[in-house]
Symmetry: C2
Subunit: 225 residues, 2 copies
């Protein structure tokens, strides 16, 4: 009873920690995706959250940590989108891979700032890539990986790799190296997204058609005959 009472009563503070944190994340996410990363200062985020800048540092080590937390939210979105396409239950592995590429590209284009933050900005102190590398090495060695070590980024890439593996397993591809092929497919999708979101005024002949042609090129290029 004591511990239960503790928990319920602690919840009655002013605003509970997690709620504040969530509020800050919401506000920061809004401002950041409206005004951009540089134009959104810690002080302005704090002001909009009705709080002092100092408080932000009780919830996030620094600005990068705050932004990276927003990045995590994007991974959530991306992972959900990719999961959606798996749920559709397309039987043809090639159609599945195509659907996955489309989902990736559309999600990136729909959330340009977040995409830029997570995939086009190097935040080495997060060690996201290093963890990814470790994850992939252990996967290759067939090790079992504890659920709590699996990040959303890993989930996303694993989905892609699985889709690629399915196509390879069906003996439909020229190249058989699943890992390398998955990387190539990612590079293809990433190229599309990053080009389109950073060069909005370039005057691409037709973005939808470009996406279509590009994914087609990739898939056709990967397949036999």
């Amino acid at each position: 009873m004591k511990s239960r009472a503790t928990k319920t009563k602690t919840a009655k503070r002013r605003i509970e920690g997690p709620a504040r944190r969530a509020q800050i994340l919401r506000v920061a996410g809004d401002m950041f995706s409206k005004d951009g990363i540089d134009a959104t200062s810690m002080r302005r985020i704090a002001a909009k959250a009705g709080v002092t800048a100092t408080l932000l540092y009780k919830h996030f080590a620094d600005k990068d940590a705050l932004l990276s937390a927003i990045g995590d939210a994007f991974f959530e979105k991306l992972n959900a989108d990719l999961e959606q396409t798996s749920i559709k239950g397309l039987k043809d592995p090639v159609a599945r891979l195509r659907a996955l590429m489309h989902a990736y590209v559309r999600c990136g284009i729909a959330n340009p700032r977040e995409y830029h933050l997570t995939f086009m900005t190097a935040l080495p102190q997060l060690r996201r890539d290093a963890k990814m590398k470790n994850f992939r090495e252990r996967m290759r060695r067939g090790e079992a990986i504890p659920a709590e070590e699996i990040t959303l980024g890993m989930m996303c890439f694993a989905r892609l790799e699985q889709a690629v593996a399915d196509v390879v397993d069906a003996k439909l591809t020229r190249v058989k190296d699943v890992a390398a092929l998955a990387e190539a497919v990612w590079a293809g999708g990433h190229g599309l997204v990053s080009l389109i979101i950073t060069h909005r005024d370039f005057g691409f002949t037709n973005v939808d058609r470009l996406i279509e042609i590009s994914t087609d090129l990739f898939l056709h290029g990967a397949l036999k005959d």
Copy 2:
């Protein structure tokens, strides 16, 4: 004689304008590509150039302008690299396109900071993309474009588009839309470069092989049969 004297004597000032400008560009380029864009402040650039920060603003409107000037230098490099591959005089249009893609990717990987600055950072006030769009529209309409309006970026893209056109003209491709195909090829190369330079720790199975596979996928995907 008067005007000649003016010019020669003016050269004896302290340091002539253009020389200072070049020096600043050199110093800034060095610092920027060693320490990164944010860690390189105007004051530190100035200090290293043995000058006050204020003076930088007599040569460049603001920091973005300075960085964009450095970007221009990268376009020079890129354009030279692409030209080199044309000079090689490969007869097979497919081999030519492949060589061009390789040159692009290698140049990007060899100059990651500059690549990031020019292709992965949106500097709308430069209107580079808008000019590009205008250029391409006029090209499509068959207009002649005055040499002084042609930027190095345009040259680069035109080289790519030409290489693609050669392949299309040889009736080797499935898709015949040169513009869209060129955009897709660019997206492919760009995806490779940007992924590799931002995610150095991702643990790509083998970068050289990835480039090989990726370009192959693209080319094979574009060709008939």
